[in-house]
């Protein structure tokens, strides 16, 4: 009956309402929210459930099925290393090791300070320039492990961009 309104819920509602596509579904709403605020908070699941007349559990079932949805706020920067076959053959392994070491991670995830969200990518679509890494959705081709290391250091010196 009563909605405990806070700005997050408002933002979520706007994201759901602003969808232009002809069919609005649970999935499209989740995507709209992730585009808008970068992740799927609890409130988003609840709001999508209300908007789509589904239960929160069904919505969560959908959201958790797709690894692209994240349930925690993303880091300030995103780093993705391509480990598609081409990049792999061209030496992505060394780049990857270097990036992981620099970030202090062992696998995909966020750095403990919340600065960087790191993910593997199966293909960034620039095979001719492999190995490729993407920093804040900007592609860097033909990277070596040293270059990757420099790029990451620059990232650290240059905290939160937007």
């Amino acid at each position: 009956m009563t909605v405990e309104n806070d700005s997050l819920r408002k933002q979520i509602k706007e994201a759901i309402a602003s969808q232009k596509r002809p069919t609005v579904t649970v999935l499209s709403s989740l995507l709209a929210i992730q585009d808008s605020i970068g992740y799927i908070p609890n409130e988003a699941i609840e709001e999508v459930a209300i908007a789509m007349n589904a239960s929160i559990n069904s919505v969560f079932g959908v959201a958790s099925f797709y690894p692209n949805f994240r349930f925690t706020p993303p880091g300030d920067h995103s780093v993705e290393v391509c480990w598609g076959p081409t990049c792999h053959l061209l030496g992505a392994g060394r780049v990857l090791d270097e990036v992981l070491e620099q970030l202090g991670l062992e696998d995909e995830g966020d750095t403990p300070d919340g600065q960087v969200s790191f993910r593997f990518n199966t293909c960034l679509g620039a095979c001719s320039r492999g190995p490729v890494i993407s920093i804040d959705h900007e592609l860097y081709g033909n990277v070596t492990d040293t270059q990757a290391s420099i790029l990451l250091r620059q990232l650290k010196d240059n905290p939160k961009t937007s």
């Binding site: 009956m1 009563t2 909605v3 239960s55």
Partner: protein
């Protein structure tokens, strides 16, 4: 039913219903195809692939065309002449491969232990199997479907320790329900039962591929996930992943099918009884027509009271103010001697809604024939107006259609009835129908679970329902939407139609506070539906106008031709488990057996208190079953009982009633009784003794007959309950068609009396709408829903039990708010008689003079689970309107 389809399964020629799938056809013919994810009554899912078969269908030229591959028999529809092989070497090897994969994530030392046939249930193995894998560490030991399937497949599991343990923590913080996802085989039966069958979706399949597992959104507690604690997921789980917490490790020594004593649906439950003579589990019967495999939180988790050690086990007589244990003969002699002094209208007999038909019949016979008193009733009969008008106008004393016919209706109107809690299983077909497009109209001041499913929820001012229903009927007449043929065939149509001219919609908008357009829309929705059913419980309606309100509701059903027309019907919703039987057999103050009116003078529940206070009733015998008096008046009842000279109480437990009783007789619970219950459809079910007599408690019919015999009466020489039933059949015409064998098997519907339908003129009552007084000026409508996604549920998960900690939001009207100096978001306090609640004010468009709040169903379940009461379900909080005052704190 269309013609059956013929097919051959493993060389056996069988017949099956068209549209069914191969595995169902096999099941219907007692043939077994191994399966794990399929479950009768649910949609095929095709997940486990255990039920693969080879099939071939005939072609027009007479040859057979094999179906490609090995189709799953649960998703393959049957066709005429089909030939199915279920057990070829190839299929067996396929199945073994699938099972191998399945149990690669399931502890299975229990499945291949070489002592599997040697061990008894009490043996504890020491070294054959590691601790985690032992059969005794699985709560589903000996009733595990996975184990049965593995053994049927004769799997050679030579490497017991090579499974991948998921190492997931057990979830044991929610009431009644334990979950061990290390045992789950992800068949998704539970998810489907919750979603498809119950319409709740309180659990879901999380994640995907190898990590996929059952859970709730973000791992929240069931208290907020929308769970109604019906246990349907537990009932379908093929492994030990989902189990009832109570008596988790106990084994069933025997199974007894009996009828649930909690509400008039009469769910058939298969009760597991342990060797310690306790009911350890209740599993709803899938084949029972009343509940079709469904139960609710009461039937599933609310039967433990029968196992209590606090039950009264000996008769007691009060001597110098103290109850002293005595023997049956002494107690009965004492009673029969005492009662001789009150053989007239000074005696009243109040039965229990949990009494069997036999108890009711012998009780009323004793009261009327031996005690010469018309004052016979049962304690739940506080709303006799629910069924009386229906009987007067249509001759029907039960619901006119069956519960599961609600599935086929196009529109359901629910008036002032919280069926999702009070008669839960009735709400299951409604929710399923709603998912298939059936329109739901709810008329209620309270926000109940069903308002969530409603296409139209009308929230009229208190006690303005007559006007609202009148507004429906006026719209129907104005727009000629009535069923003319049906109207003409009922008596007094002209008078009835003329009476509707009083119902002016503009005026009704003012009295009900519901906009005209909404009333019109709802009326159109109801009248235009091919089949529309009405459910009414009159729970929020004041006693003075209940009868008129019920008449108006029946009028509406009659004028739209919705009684005796296909699946549509009208369902009066009373609360007592066997209240229907009590009325049929005359154990109520309005009727003798066979619905012969008793006349005005009889004392019943509605006027018991005043009769006791005025001294009209001097002796009273009450079958307590831990009394179920109207919560509002419990105090008044006990005060009144003290006025009488003699109080004889039959009860299971010591209670406020036994404290004032002069004689206390131990009464059997439903689990020790043999007899019959009649449900709200008029279906007669058997009550079978599941736990043998553990004390000297006895059944009411036997107690009454013994007292009667001691008082010199004849006609009470019953040897057993069947003798009583035979006499009931002689005396009560609607029971004459019953065959005790059929009743025992699956219940049987009693004969319906045919009578011409009559309209009743309902004049517009002066809507007082103001039953409040200056001390308590506001009417508070409590609501309860399963889930509130728009609010933070406030679950505390830190302790070993999940608890709800949130502060409720109270809706109030703007003018009431300003009158009390309350602003949005203020902390306020509601106070009424024996009631108090704090909340946060939310000023919105609710009617002036009303306040409403909605809590989570989880909080009720939490209360029940933590209650120290012997029989907590019986005293659980119903959602009735309360008079309160509000203040800012």
């Amino acid at each position: 039913m269309a013609d059956k389809i013929n097919l051959t399964i493993d060389g056996v020629e069988v017949q099956a219903d068209p549209g069914s799938v191969i595995i169902q056809a096999a099941m219907d013919n007692d043939l077994y195809i191994p399966y794990l994810c399929y479950y009768p009554g649910m949609k095929p899912y095709g997940a486990c692939r255990m039920c693969v078969v080879k099939a071939e269908a005939p072609t027009p030229d007479g040859s057979y065309r094999p179906l490609p591959g090995s189709p799953a028999s649960c998703t393959t529809p049957i066709s005429e002449g089909m030939r199915v092989e279920t057990n070829t070497d190839e299929l067996v090897s396929l199945r073994k491969g699938i099972l191998d994969l399945l149990i690669s994530e399931h502890p299975h030392g229990c499945l291949n232990c070489h002592r599997i046939d040697l061990c008894g249930p009490t043996d504890v193995c020491l070294r054959h199997v590691t601790v985690n894998d032992r059969c005794v560490t699985c709560p589903k030991n000996e009733r595990c479907e996975l184990k049965d399937t593995v053994r049927y497949m004769e799997m050679e599991l030579t490497t017991p320790l090579t499974y991948n343990n998921r190492h997931l923590p057990l979830e044991v913080k929610d009431p009644y329900w334990d979950m061990d996802m290390n045992l789950c085989i992800v068949c998704a039966r539970c998810v489907r039962a919750c979603d498809e069958v119950r319409g709740d979706s309180a659990i879901t399949l999380k994640d995907r591929s190898g990590r996929s597992i059952i859970g709730t959104s973000q791992g929240t507690s069931l208290l907020e996930s929308g769970c109604e604690f019906c246990g349907a997921c537990i009932d379908v789980c093929p492994t030990g992943a989902l189990v009832e917490r109570d008596y988790k490790w106990d084994k069933a020594e025997k199974k007894v099918t009996s009828t649930c004593p909690h509400c008039p649906v009469g769910c058939q439950l298969s009760l597991d009884v342990s060797k310690r003579n306790k009911i350890i589990r209740a599993i709803p019967e899938r084949t029972a027509e009343a509940n079709r495999g469904m139960a609710c939180y009461k039937g599933k988790f609310g039967l433990d009271f029968v196992n209590s050690r606090k039950k009264i086990d000996k008769p007691m007589i009060r001597n110098n103010g103290v109850l002293e244990e005595t023997t049956w003969p002494t107690a009965l002699d004492f009673i029969s001697e005492k009662l001789l002094n009150y053989r007239n209208g000074e005696f009243a007999l109040i039965g229990s809604p949990r009494g069997t038909n036999e108890d009711h019949y012998v009780g009323q016979k004793f009261g009327r024939d031996v005690m010469h008193s018309a004052n016979v009733d049962i304690s739940s009969n506080t709303h006799p107006e629910i069924t009386k008008p229906l009987g007067d106008m249509t001759g029907r004393r039960t619901s006119t259609s069956r519960i599961w016919q609600l599935l086929d209706t196009d529109c359901v109107l629910v008036v002032s009835s919280n069926i999702t809690e009070s008669q839960n299983v009735v709400s299951v077909p409604i929710k399923q129908a709603a998912a298939n497009g059936t329109k739901i109209i709810v008329v209620d001041q309270r926000e109940t679970e069903l308002t969530r499913y409603a296409d139209i929820w009308l929230r009229p001012k208190v006690d303005s329902e007559i006007d609202l229903i009148g507004g429906f009927m006026r719209t129907i007449i104005d727009e000629s939407l009535e069923d003319n043929e049906a109207c003409q065939s009922c008596g007094e149509f002209t008078e009835f139609r003329n009476s509707l001219w009083d119902y002016d919609l503009t005026d009704i908008e003012a009295t009900t506070g519901v906009p005209q357009d909404e009333i019109r829309n709802a009326a159109r929705m109801f009248a235009n539906a091919e089949n529309a059913s009405t459910i009414y419980g009159l729970e929020t309606i004041s006693p003075q106008i209940r009868e008129h309100c019920a008449k108006a509701i029946v009028n509406l059903a009659l004028m739209t031709g919705n009684i005796d027309n296909g699946p549509s019907g009208i369902y009066p919703m009373f609360k007592g488990a066997n209240e229907q039987g009590a009325r049929d057999l005359g154990a109520c103050s309005e009727y003798l057996p066979n619905y012969v009116a008793t006349g005005e003078s009889a004392v019943g529940m509605t006027n018991l208190i005043e009769s006791l206070n005025s001294g009209k009733i001097k002796a009273i015998e009450i079958v307590g079953d831990s009394p179920t008096f109207d919560e509002d008046q419990v105090g008044d009842f006990y005060k009144a009982f003290k006025q009488s000279e003699l109080v004889i109480a039959h009860d299971n437990f010591e209670s406020a009633l036994t404290e004032i009783a002069d004689v206390v007789l131990p009464s059997s619970t439903f689990a020790e009784k043999t007899g019959t219950y009649t449900n709200l459809e008029g279906r007669v079910h058997c009550v079978n003794p599941s736990i043998g007599p553990s004390s000297e408690a006895d059944e009411e019919w036997r107690i009454f007959s013994q007292i009667a015999q001691r008082m010199g009466a004849s006609g009470f020489e019953y040897r057993n309950s069947s003798d009583v039933f035979v006499e009931i059949q002689e005396k009560v015409s609607s029971y004459t068609n019953l065959d005790l064998d059929k009743v025992k098997k699956n219940g049987q519907i009693m004969r319906k009396e045919n009578q011409d339908f009559q309209f009743a003129v309902v004049t517009r009552a002066e809507v007082s709408g103001d039953t409040t007084n200056s001390e308590y000026p506001i009417i508070f409508a409590p609501g309860r829903v399963l889930q509130q996604p728009d609010r933070d549920a406030g679950i505390d998960t830190s302790s070993d039990k999940n608890t709800i900690t949130r502060t409720e939001i109270v809706e109030i009207n703007a003018s009431d708010a300003s009158e009390h100096g309350i602003a949005e978001g203020d902390n306020i306090k509601l106070e009424g008689q024996g009631f108090s609640m704090n909340g946060i004010a939310h000023v919105n468009g609710i009617h002036k003079g009303m306040a409403a709040s909605t809590s989570l169903f989880g909080s009720l379940v939490e209360d029940l689970a933590n209650s120290g009461d012997n029989d907590p379900v019986l005293k659980s909080d119903s959602l009735r309107l309360r008079k309160v005052r509000i203040e800012k704190i």
